[in-house]
């Protein structure tokens, strides 16, 4: 670990990707993540990597498809409208089982919306914005340090399962600066060997074919069942979450990403008022840590989900709690970030 540096969230993710061995970046500028695109344009040439500004997000996602087909670590970053444009490509990438890392720095929506931080793309990220039965591994970091670590993790997990991964940040995380320590540079020779499936030239072997397509529905179903097998493994192995002062908590606040971070303040404020609050913070949004959350349903009296949206993750909370306890919700949307005080006030109303 090197010294601490002060960086923007977008740049932290970019540097983390490069250190994780990503040497190809394709993207299209969009606020509030253009700094990541810009960062890559400066950094990639310095590490003999490829930076290419695509003509659109549609082109970018397909450049990723192409580059990932060759077995290299590749990444793009975008924000809400841009990620929506990528959905056909995301579905193709999932179907072709390509290990791509996406970053969506979510802003207020729908439509053009605004450029303030939001969490209203949770459904799109976790239930599949594109068509078909597929899943991305979705990470929701709460701080820049965590974003750095999860970015490296995203590449490893993507490679391990040949499955795309998504860093779901919000505009706040993307734009804020705080001190960060970066890991060392990954020795590129230690990256996983993808020569068994990647398109690198059919020299001395059968040609490799990469596709999300089969004319025969039974074969396509088999392909899908293979994805499902993989998803099951991911569900078993890759769930991540943080619990903060849940040990004795009556009230479980559930929040992720930036909202999760803010919720820590709220927990402390509530405890100052004598309310035994705790925080359950999912870090993988898919696979969602249902069991871990369900365990708290015996102990807690109330679940209180807080999102920067009109209520999306709350469905997963309900699925986890499964009727055992009440699940309440509070959210702001359109780029408004709830303040600790207002959430606390809402919480006090509920109890």
């Amino acid at each position: 670990m090197a010294e601490k540096v002060m960086v923007k969230g977008t740049e932290a993710i970019g540097e983390a990707a490069i250190r994780a061995g990503c040497r190809l970046y394709f993207g299209y500028p969009i606020t509030p993540q253009s700094e990541l695109t810009e960062y890559m344009s400066r950094r990639m040439p310095q590490v003999d990597g490829v930076f290419l500004q695509a003509e659109s997000e549609v082109a970018a996602v397909n450049m990723l498809y192409g580059a990932a087909s060759t077995g290299h670590r590749v990444m793009t970053s975008t924000s809400s409208p841009g990620y929506s444009l990528m959905q056909e490509g995301v579905s193709y990438i999932a179907g072709a089982e390509l290990p791509v890392v996406f970053v969506n720095v979510v802003r207020g929506g729908p439509g053009l919306g605004d450029i303030q931080p939001a969490q209203s793309d949770y459904f799109q990220a976790t239930k599949g914005g594109g068509h078909g039965d597929y899943r991305l591994v979705v990470y929701g970091p709460e701080s820049l340090q965590e974003a750095v670590e999860l970015t490296a993790k995203a590449f490893d997990v993507a490679d391990k399962y040949r499955n795309p991964a998504l860093i779901l940040a919000d505009g706040m995380l993307g734009q804020m600066m705080e001190p960060v320590e970066f890991p060392e540079f990954r020795d590129l020779s230690t990256l996983p060997d993808h020569s068994s499936w990647a398109m690198q030239g059919a020299k001395g072997r059968e040609p490799h074919k990469i596709t999300s397509f089969d004319i025969n529905e039974y074969v396509l179903e088999q392909m899908n069942l293979r994805y499902q097998e993989k998803y099951k493994k991911i569900i078993e192995n890759e769930q991540m979450w943080e619990e903060y002062k849940t040990d004795d908590a009556d009230i479980i606040i559930v929040a992720y990403g930036t909202m999760g971070r803010i919720a820590k303040t709220i927990v402390n404020m509530a405890r100052e008022k004598g309310v035994k609050a705790g925080l359950f913070r999912p870090i993988t949004l898919w696979p969602y840590p249902y069991e871990a959350l369900a365990k708290l349903a015996d102990q807690a009296k109330l679940f209180f989900t807080v999102e920067m949206s009109m209520g999306q993750m709350v469905e997963d909370v309900k699925l986890a709690v499964n009727g055992k306890k009440t699940v309440e919700f509070y959210g702001r949307t359109g780029g408004v970030v709830p303040t600790p005080n207002e959430v606390l006030a809402k919480l006090m109303e509920l109890i």
Binding site: M172, M176, V337, T339, P340
Partner: protein, 180 residues
């Protein structure tokens, strides 16, 4: 415990973002926890810009701040928008070259700095943000001048290095301009 959480706000182009970044970086050099959080108008153009900076001896759970300890206003709408958030006796710094009105609050500490005029005199109206920064240092002592200098050196690299001098001068001028 040292804890400052300020909002600096103005028009795009007035350098409020850099104002916050320099202070945040300086805080890092002093081993404080710190976060810097910007808020722009739509995409980059038009409208107002502001940033929230927290400097603290404790882990910062929330980079969002309900109640800033200080507000630095670079234009009129920012003053009206953010003075409301200050606690009693909180500090409001105004660029009085641009803000020719008085705040509504009377229970706070108000400092008026004619930052554009001072910067203009120094030969570059753009460093008015550093004039304000100097005033902030003087008003709060949140970080040391040396840490700010280090932060500026880190930030003004390459072609911009030649601007270091005038920026430091502006900070000093700002410190002098604020009369407690």
């Amino acid at each position: 415990m040292k804890h400052h959480a300020f909002i600096a706000a103005g028009f795009g182009g007035q350098g409020v973002m850099l104002f916050g970044k320099i202070l945040s970086l300086a805080a890092m050099y002093e081993n404080l926890y710190t976060t810097w959080l910007p808020s722009y108008g739509p995409e980059m153009r038009g409208g107002t810009a502001n940033c929230t900076v927290v400097l603290s001896e404790e882990y910062i759970a929330s980079p969002v701040v309900d109640q800033p300890t200080e507000v630095i206003a670079f234009n009129i709408p920012s003053m009206y928008k953010f003075e409301k958030l200050l606690p009693e006796n909180g500090i409001l710094l105004l660029n009085s070259s641009v803000i020719d009105r008085d705040p509504e609050r009377t229970d706070i500490q108000v400092f008026k700095i004619p930052a554009n005029d001072i910067a203009d005199e120094l030969g570059n109206v753009k460093v008015q943000n550093m004039v304000m920064l100097g005033a902030y240092l003087k008003a709060t002592g949140a970080v040391s001048f040396d840490s700010v200098k280090k932060a500026l050196e880190k930030s003004l690299k390459g072609k911009k290095a030649e601007l270091l001098d005038i920026n430091l001068k502006a900070i000093e001028a700002g410190m002098n301009a604020l009369v407690k």
